[in-house]
């Protein structure tokens, strides 16, 4: 239960994920920042401690957002944990600069382990 004060932004176009994962993270003590339709701008404005980024979102491309964040000096060090229902896209995520990848559906314990590891880094 380290880094409980850390701000985690969840970028996913599915309200169910946003809500359920948000509740879980809050229950674990994190501050949850739900994303808007323009994730990139919001991240750059709010600078969360970690971004949980879905890859396929309607109107937004997670890969491109990741590339942009990793290409920007202000956001380069911010850990990005990419999530997707498509496991085969894992390599693309890492190629885009993601710090880690988690395939949906996942165990919450897996998610917490990865978040804690990335925040410690």
């Amino acid at each position: 239960m380290n880094n409980t004060t850390a701000k985690i932004m969840i970028a996913d176009d599915d309200p169910g994920i946003l809500d359920s994962v948000g509740i879980m993270l809050e229950y674990r003590g994190y501050e949850v920042l739900p994303s808007s339709k323009n994730t990139l701008n919001q991240v750059q404005a709010e600078l969360p401690d970690l971004l949980l980024l879905d890859i396929w979102m309607s109107g937004q491309d997670g890969i491109e957002i990741c590339k942009a964040l990793k290409g920007n000096e202000r956001t380069r060090e911010m850990p990005v944990l990419m999530i997707s229902a498509s496991r085969h896209i894992e390599n693309s995520a890492f190629d885009a600069g993601a710090d880690d990848f988690l395939a949906k559906p996942f165990e919450m314990e897996q998610l917490f382990e990865k978040i804690e590891y990335l925040l410690k880094k």
Binding site: S20, V21, S86, R87, H88, K104, P105
Partner: protein, 734 residues
Amino acid sequence: MEKLVFQEILNEITLPFIIYEGNDLLLQTVNREAQILLGISKGVEGKPLSEVLQAGGQERLIDSAHKALTSGSEQKLQHVILELSDNHIKRKVQVDLHSKPLKREDGSVWGILQMLKEVSGPAVDNHEDRKEQYRLIALVENSSDLIGITDMQGNVTYLNKAGQMLMGASSIDECYRPSVDYFIYEDYIRLRPEIQVSMAEKGMWRGEISYRHFKTGEPILCDLNAFVITDPVSGQPIGMASVTRDLRATQAARKEQQKLFTLVENSADLMSILEPNGLNSYINKAGRELLGFESEKEVLSTPISDLHSPEHFEQVSKEVLPALEKFGRWEGQMIVRHLKTAEEFPIFNKSIRIDDPKTGQMVAVGALMRDMRPELAAQKALSDSEKLFREITTAAPAALWMCDDAQRISYVNKVWEEWTGQPLEAQLGEPVCHTVLPADREMAELKFGEDFKDRKFHHCQFRVSNGNTIRWIIRTGNPHYDSKGEFIGYIGACVDITELKQLQEQKDQFLGIASHELKTPVTSIKAYTQVLESMLRDSGDTKKADMVKKMDAQVNRLINLIGDLLDVTKIQTGKLQFNDRYFDFNEMVKELVEDVGRTSKKHSIITHLEETGEVYADRERIGQVVTNLITNAIKYSPNADRIEVYTRIENNNVRLCVQDFGIGIPREKKDKVFEQFYRVSGDEQHTFPGLGLGLYISSEIVKREGGKIWVTSMEGRGSTFCFSIPATGNKKND
């Protein structure tokens, strides 16, 4: 010279005489008259008389000469009967014998002159007749027929040279034996009564009888002409003479003739001989039946014009006969008419002119004919069958193809022409896969080549195009053999599966999207259940927390099912992803055994892990296989309490085996367990849930990682599932 003149003078002396010389009484001169009388030949000078007159009669002559020699005085004997034998004919001669010593000047005897004056008597031959008899004997002796004489007791007393040769006798002495010895005994017994009656009544018998070779016992069929010899004075029978001719050559010829006749008579083809008068002298059995003859006699009286309608007889008279006249032969088709039913039918006729070898004139026409109806019917059936085949192949919705033993196209139907946009003529002789789209051709050629080499059922999918439409095709084919069992190529069909392919693609897309879309809400459900469980547990409501945990387990089952469906879709679309990297194989196995072990309280999973080191593969996918094998082992051994897991390195491959002690797999179903949707059926199995995809996915993963998977099992005793993958990895990732 003087000696010759002297000899000639001596020969001219009509009195038979002999001059003996020396104490051994060697013959010095035998004049011509003496040679005739005694039946001896010239050139006997210097020999003793005993050597010359072997058959008898010499004793009296030598005795007389010897007495004259020893006494030195003349010896005269009257009416001396000499028993002589000329060429084996015995005869008696009566002579007055006068032996006179020939003396030198000193009175010593140097030789004997012996004169033989023939005198006639009742028991001896007449001197004048004998010359004629001698000629007759020479004739008989040298006859090519067997000539023999038998006495009244049935003993043979004479047999000429031809007879001795036929019977295999080495000398005349062998021939002096009872006549029964001359014949095959059964033949002799069979014919004897007939011969005896005929001899008694007619004085002769003639017929065929089998002689028996003295040495070999071989039967010799002969024509025997026997007749009684009577005494000219008393008229009483004094013996029997026989003239016999060897019939073996004739018999052989007769047999050959019979064989030939049987062959001709029983030939399935019609054979006939036509005489110049327009009548057949012979038509064989097949011909008589074919043309409606009721007897051989009817053949002889029916003119050939009756065997044709007037219209068709014109061909015979205007074409066939002139051709035979001119060229000696004719062959072709003609129409004949059945004598009784008047039915007309075609025959193939091959006629040749038969000429008299001496005059060269045509004496007959030999004809060989064949009923053409079966042949024409067969041709028509074949033609109809070909027509039907073409109509069927044209009407068939499938494309049909054939190739020869060099993999070259020998036939394609209209459908294939349409699908490929190439006419049959352009495809004949081309390689079987030449119309396959270039992108699929190499694969199709490889597959066909392998099947062709092993002469096995061919099955392949590829695309073809006619320029407008691209079609997906399933081509099947089987090896084709001729009536002698010789391999002559392949014959098969092609089916258009374009629609099926499209449906398959749609299904795959749907499953892909559906399972992907399912994962998102499932992720939410998992999050809610897990947070709910945490909340309930934190609030101390363990009972509700446990229920929510069970709900989470059920969600996990749902996730696995969705995962399997998605994997199958990916396998079929070739989109199964592999992220190969190095990992510790045993480490992974231990983790999974621990994870799966938590799900079964009943089974303990016992590991036997030999050092495997790191392998290069997709850890997740290989882990999926291991998990599948262990969960299956638990699932299908409900009454057992342990599972054994083994790992080892073998031939640079990592091998893992999972052994259970459960229900096992029937031998005949062992190979099917790795097939898609296959589930072990049976009474007990109804209770085992699942889609039947786990082992299929596992086998595909192992194959894609360059490994193999297999099972050994005994029904009722349990199964051992194993897989092996290269330890150094398979770099062929998708």
